[in-house]
């Protein structure tokens, strides 16, 4: 009954449809897992429509929510990859701060838009490289290595900026953040966020890089024995996270028209929280970009909703905490039922 073991299995007659699903590999799972988040989002929209109908359900407000999601959203995509790969990156906020400060120094601004963008990306990649080298080849525990990066990147950002807000004078950069540059009403920042999210989704779900990320996070030893270069994969994941931080830093420069050492404050926690409520397992091995993007949108929508209703930060923070607990509990219930 066995054909030659080396024979290509493709030659075999197509198997009978033993299982109902013949489509994409994980399509049915995805929908189910994100249902709770979509539910939360719908509930938020209903609350918004009920309390502030004129302001909430407008194109302008949608644009605002997406714009405010874009910077943290790009960071979250990178962090999601790292967490799925079994790591953690606590340094993202600090890297954003450092990159935004470095790219807005008087010296860098002389090189114009291209120079600033390049600088921002290079700083992000550089920090990611240091993180990755320490973790993959150090080898250091990701928590400690990125904690060290958090401290030193923030320190360096303060040193470079001397605590001052560095206002951007380059008109081409500033122009990217104002309505004249919007493409069919969509701000460039939102387009960048969308591009990063779609790319992340493709890479995670459709490429060997993505598959190996899941494998390394799920069972590093099994991955090693399966022939995956685990340490190299880890290095690449932190590089990816660093690159996302670099992109986010430039977006933040465009958004705020400045660079400041306080930028990206607590991004690490916001990004991790968004990934977790999006269904990413903190211990690695499971997670989706769709979930993380939904997680970011939920948080931004809450902030928007509360601001529109003139509720203060204390209430916003309580609600944020409650949403995290609720979303994770709902997912747990789903899993065990």
């Amino acid at each position: 009954m066995l054909s030659s073991p080396s024979a290509d299995a493709v030659k075999e007659p197509a198997p009978p449809p033993t299982s109902p699903s013949r489509r994409g590999i994980s399509a049915p799972r995805v929908d189910l897992r994100h249902l709770s988040l979509v539910g939360v989002l719908v509930a938020l929209v209903i609350v918004g429509a009920a309390t502030k109908p004129e302001q909430f359900l407008t194109g302008d407000n949608l644009q605002l929510i997406l714009t405010q999601s874009s910077v943290i959203g790009v960071v979250t995509v990178g962090v999601t990859f790292v967490i799925i790969g079994g790591g953690i990156d606590l340094s993202v906020g600090a890297i954003v701060a450092l990159a935004s400060v470095w790219a807005t120094t008087v010296a860098t601004q002389e090189f114009g838009l291209g120079g600033m963008l390049l600088c921002s990306l290079a700083v992000g990649l550089g920090c990611g490289l240091v993180n990755g080298m320490l973790i993959a080849y150090g080898p250091m525990v990701p928590f400690i290595a990125t904690l060290a990066m958090l401290a030193s990147a923030r320190g360096l950002a303060l040193l470079i900026s001397d605590g001052k807000t560095q206002v951007v004078d380059v008109q081409s950069v500033l122009a990217l953040g104002v309505p004249d540059s919007y493409v069919l009403g969509v701000p460039p920042l939102v387009l960048v966020f969308a591009a990063v999210a779609v790319l992340g989704w493709l890479v995670l779900g459709r490429t060997t890089f993505g598959r190996r990320t899941v494998a390394v996070g799920g069972n590093a030893e099994a991955s090693r024995l399966a022939g995956i270069a685990v340490q190299r994969q880890r290095l690449l994941l932190y590089l990816l996270s660093g690159l996302c931080c670099g992109i986010a830093a430039f977006m933040l420069i465009v958004l705020t028209g400045s660079g400041q050492n306080t930028n990206g404050n607590l991004y690490e926690l916001d990004a991790i929280a968004a990934a977790i409520i999006g269904g990413t397992l903190l211990s690695g091995g499971r997670g989706t970009i769709t979930g993380s993007v939904l997680g970011v949108l939920v948080f931004t929508t809450i902030t928007n909703l509360f601001a529109l209703n003139n509720l203060q930060s204390d209430v916003q923070q309580i609600a944020k905490g409650a949403i995290i607990v609720a979303a994770v509990l709902v997912q747990k219930g789903r899993k065990t039922s």
Binding site: K52, T165, V178, S258, T262, A307, N310, D314
Partner: protein, 358 residues
């Protein structure tokens, strides 16, 4: 976090504010304050009668070593504090300034101050990272016979300092409200929006309290929205964008902090809005330039003057030389000085431009 303007006087002190607005006129910066003070405070007509013999002046006197300890300068205003102190000290030939590297860590700052005590400096100027936490080291200095000038963030015990000088958060809100009130007093159903600083700091609450109290005098004005940012550009942009969406039309905006104002102004530009007037807070150079140019929504800013650091050096020098200050009938330097939060507008901006911090 990185904030700064931490007057921790309990809120009832705010009621005493006007009585405590001591003037103090030995220096240029002081004079500028004095001029501002006169516009709304008439308690100083007796300046001419000041008759003490022993008043500090610019002439070189007894050598004084002043120890200066502040928090880490990670914010524009704190940078200005350090600059002001150093420049002021440099002006006097008889003053040697021993400045520590700033720190936001209480334990580290205590260590730095203890080093200064051991070095036996003549006077200490301390801007504590946290006033309550550093009270003990203030007491220690006083017991060692070193007079302490407590800058802005106040120690928990009055025994820990010889003289306190600092800003007035309640008064800052009060003056911002008063200015906006006067601008809008003839407008029916005027709407005002407030962009506050970090909400869990007492000083933010005090500023909001003063702002609300001032607006109570104008029944036609209603504060329709308030959001708290975090003294950062990023949070300023984000919260302002939300406010602009929440209130599609309003008449005035008070932003607590000119640093986060960079982000707020960016959000205003992105929303393409200009129907209101904006009042800043603290007094950065950038905002003063904008007031002078008068081509944006920014029409005024309420000071939280970093010149207090220069004044603190003056006080410390006078204490070290055993002298009083000019312009008052008192023989001794007052125990407490709350500075006036002047409103900088296009009319007086030229006077204040040099004090604007970057």
């Amino acid at each position: 976090m990185t904030d700064t303007h931490g007057n921790q006087h309990s809120s009832h002190n705010a009621d005493n504010t006007s009585r405590r607005n001591m003037l103090f006129g030995t220096a240029a910066a002081g004079a500028a304050l004095f001029a501002a003070g006169c516009t709304s405070n008439k308690s100083n007509d007796d300046k001419e009668e000041a008759g003490q013999a022993n008043v500090a002046d610019d002439k070189p006197g007894k050598k004084v070593t002043i120890g200066f300890a502040g928090p880490q300068a990670d914010h524009g205003w704190l940078n200005a504090i350090n600059d002001q102190a150093k420049r002021r000290a440099g002006k006097y030939q008889d003053v040697t300034l021993e400045a520590t590297e700033g720190s936001n860590d209480n334990a580290q700052q205590v260590g730095q101050i203890e080093t200064l005590i051991n070095k036996k400096v003549d006077v200490l100027v301390i801007l504590p990272a946290d006033g309550k936490a550093l009270t003990q080291v203030g007491l220690k200095a006083m017991r060692a016979g070193i007079p302490v000038v407590n800058l802005d963030r106040v120690f928990a015990s009055q025994q820990a300092y010889r003289c306190w000088i600092g800003g007035d958060n309640y008064g800052m809100g009060l003056n911002a409200g008063r200015y906006i009130g006067e601008q809008l007093k003839d407008k029916k159903n005027a709407k005002v929006v407030e962009l506050a600083g970090i909400d869990n700091l007492e000083l933010t609450r005090q500023r909001t309290e003063g702002f609300d109290d001032a607006l109570k005098n104008y029944p036609n004005i209603k504060k329709v929205a308030r959001q708290a940012a975090e003294f950062t550009v990023e949070s300023g942009q984000s919260k302002m964008a939300q406010l602009l969406r929440a209130e599609t039309k309003f008449d005035a905006l008070w932003n607590h902090d000119d640093d986060q104002g960079v982000g707020a102004e960016r959000a205003i530009k992105q929303a393409g809005r200009d129907e209101f007037l904006m009042v800043g807070g603290a007094g950065s150079r950038r905002v003063m330039d904008a007031i002078k140019a008068d081509n944006s929504v920014i029409k005024a800013t309420v000071l939280y003057p970093p010149t207090m650091a220069a004044s603190a050096i003056d006080l410390a020098r006078a204490l070290g030389q055993g002298k009083g200050v000019g312009g008052l009938a008192e023989f001794e330097i007052p125990a407490s000085m709350t500075l006036y939060s002047a409103v900088v507008t296009k009319d007086n901006v030229d006077e204040y431009l040099p004090t604007g911090f970057k």
